[in-house]
């Protein structure tokens, strides 16, 4: 479990992140979503014990940052923004080297290397030099490197960057299985679709956390869910506005051409009642479709509300 309270990082006069507070539970995938320079990488670097926070505190599986940074590094696995592999070494040699740095030796090391080469489907290329690998192949080896020592806490910076759709799905599925093993996982991403599919909760950040919520909760932030009702008949949609305004579950309504755009508190529950009320009022309904807000709308709304940052950390 990761507990973060008021974390802040200054680089001389530049404040990269400030007032960061959140928790990541065991078996939870927490997404950090934000534009370039939002401070995602800085946050992960602090939590992984790579750089010291200027202020605030955090514990990682009970180990306080600062006092037990070595212990934190030993139980953390990190997929860095850039794979950062050793080009002249083979995939196997790269993994074996990192396994040693995490304290694996002998048959435990060999077994872990072979297992994770298999997990990322790179066994056939194990003894080839990394220099000849594609971006996707490098990313797979970097993922294997982050997981080799069975870390309790995992930080993944753009985990599917450079992967083809099939490989990206393999990685996402594997990350999901890590959740079932009780690992705490932090995923930094720009990929909204990935964040929505993978994460239990998402923190949208720009220098600090702007909002933390489930993907569904975040979507609601953008705008209220709406239902589009297509009408066909002599009466125009404007003639139903008064009737709809009387309905308690309708929070807003607009009419355009032959369409009514109705805001509902809970479309899944309220749509049948809405249609019944319209038909009862004489409307000829030809189509009803939910127009759910997207995570992208919510994200752009949140990030846009908090203005531009000119940092790139």
């Amino acid at each position: 479990m990761i507990v973060v309270e008021g974390l802040r990082k200054d680089f001389r006069a530049l404040t990269a992140v400030h007032d960061m507070s959140f928790t990541v539970g065991d078996g939870e995938i927490f997404g950090l979503l934000g534009p370039n320079g939002a401070g995602k990488t800085t946050t992960v670097r602090m939590l992984a014990g790579l750089i010291a926070p200027t202020a605030g505190q955090a514990t990682v599986n009970g180990h306080p940052l600062g006092d037990q940074t070595q212990e934190i590094r030993a139980i953390s696995g990190i997929l860095t923004e850039s794979p950062g592999l050793h080009e002249k070494l083979t995939a196997r040699q790269n993994l074996a080297y990192y396994g040693r740095l995490y304290g694996l030796r002998g048959s435990r090391l060999r077994d872990a290397v072979n297992r994770y080469l298999g997990v990322v489907e790179m066994s056939a290329h194990a003894d080839r030099r990394v220099a000849g690998f594609s971006k996707g192949m490098r990313q797979k080896i970097a993922i294997a490197r982050a997981l080799l020592h069975e870390p309790e806490v995992i930080y993944l910076d753009e985990p599917t960057s450079g992967l083809d759709p099939s490989a990206a799905k393999t990685v996402r599925d594997f990350v999901a299985t890590l959740r079932t093993l009780g690992r705490s996982i932090v995923v930094c991403t720009h990929n909204l679709d990935e964040a929505e599919r993978l994460c239990d909760r998402i923190g949208v950040m720009r220098g600090t956390l702007l909002r933390v919520d489930t993907p569904a909760g975040l979507r609601r932030h953008g705008r209220a869910p709406t239902v589009r009702v297509e009408l066909n008949g002599a009466r125009g949609p404007e003639s139903f506005l008064d009737r709809l305004a009387e309905l308690p579950f309708v929070t807003g309504v607009k009419a355009a051409d032959s369409t009514l755009v109705v805001e509902l508190a809970d479309p899944a529950h309220d749509t049948p009642d809405l249609v019944a009320a319209l038909v009862g009022a004489g409307a000829r309904v030809t189509a009803v479709a939910e127009d759910a807000p997207t995570l992208e709308e919510a994200y752009l709304s949140l990030v846009g509300e908090h203005g531009e940052r000119d940092t790139d950390r």
């Binding site: 030993a74 953390s76 990190i78 794979p83 950062g84 050793h86 080009e87 040693r100 995490y102 490197r145």
Partner: protein, 263 residues
């Protein structure tokens, strides 16, 4: 310092070095050149049965080798005088390896994943230092032994004794590893602040200037080779410089500044 971790870094660096033919060439080439030039001169004197009286300026240095024939004294002077340049091998070679290693990792961004492990910075540097110093020390020692044996075989076995003198055995055992260590540390300090291997090597290249200056001063001073006292003073001087480089290195190569200064 946990030796297992430093050893793991050393192993990785060593594999990296062995797969880098260009860098291996940079290790071997200067060592062979510094040995080949005087050996060629000795062979030339031997083959042409040269009269030392024709050697002009060298005559004044022949007095360093009393009780031996003039031709052997001339060869002895050439063999021993050039040995000062052997100190350039531990100065130049590890510098090239260390700068390539650190800057190569900065450019490849492979330092961050290493620093994210429980590996401590001193363990990382110890592994890198050993990997950069070992080829240079080994190359210097091999060339030293080969140089003594080959010159003895070409001309006169007494040349071997001139090479394997007490002074040079002590210099090889102490001064060469110390210069190597200083060169590596300087390479690491410089590399932590710049992002281009050539710039690092040019800045670090100043380390060879004092050695060249000593070699030239020795020649014009009429001295065939170093004295034991000079070697020991050299040891102390370089040891002091290593202490200074360690202090600067600890400041320059801290985990955070490496990550935030990445190219």
């Amino acid at each position: 310092m946990r030796l297992g971790y430093a050893w793991a870094v050393f192993g990785k660096e060593w594999r990296d070095l062995l797969s880098n033919r260009l860098l291996l060439g940079a290790v071997a080439f200067p060592a062979l050149i510094f040995a080949a030039i005087p050996t060629g001169l000795v062979a030339w004197i031997q083959v042409h049965n040269l009269d030392p009286n024709q050697l002009g300026q060298i005559q004044q240095y022949i007095a360093n080798f009393p009780n031996v024939p003039a031709k052997l004294a001339a060869q002895g002077f050439i063999v021993t005088n050039f040995m000062a340049y052997f100190l350039l091998i531990p100065a130049m070679v590890p510098m090239a390896i260390a700068t390539q290693s650190v800057i190569g990792e900065k450019v490849a961004r492979s330092l961050e994943p290493q620093l994210a492990t429980p590996l401590e910075v001193p363990e990382l540097l110890a592994g890198k230092t050993l990997a950069a110093a070992l080829p240079a020390v080994t190359a210097t020692w091999l060339v030293f032994v080969g140089y003594g044996l080959v010159n003895g075989a070409i001309a006169d076995e007494r040349l071997t004794r001139f090479v394997f003198s007490d002074v040079w055995l002590v210099a090889m055992a102490t001064l060469v590893p110390l210069i190597c260590l200083f060169s590596v540390l300087l390479g690491i300090v410089v590399s932590s602040r710049v992002s281009d291997p050539r710039t690092a090597q040019q800045i670090g290249g100043f380390v060879v200037l004092p050695i060249i200056a000593v070699a030239i001063a020795q020649f014009f001073g009429g001295q065939a080779t170093f004295t034991m006292q000079q070697v020991l003073i050299g040891d102390l001087l370089v040891a002091g410089l290593i202490g200074l480089a360690l202090l600067i290195g600890a400041w320059a190569f801290d985990r955070e500044s490496i990550l935030t200064r990445l190219a």
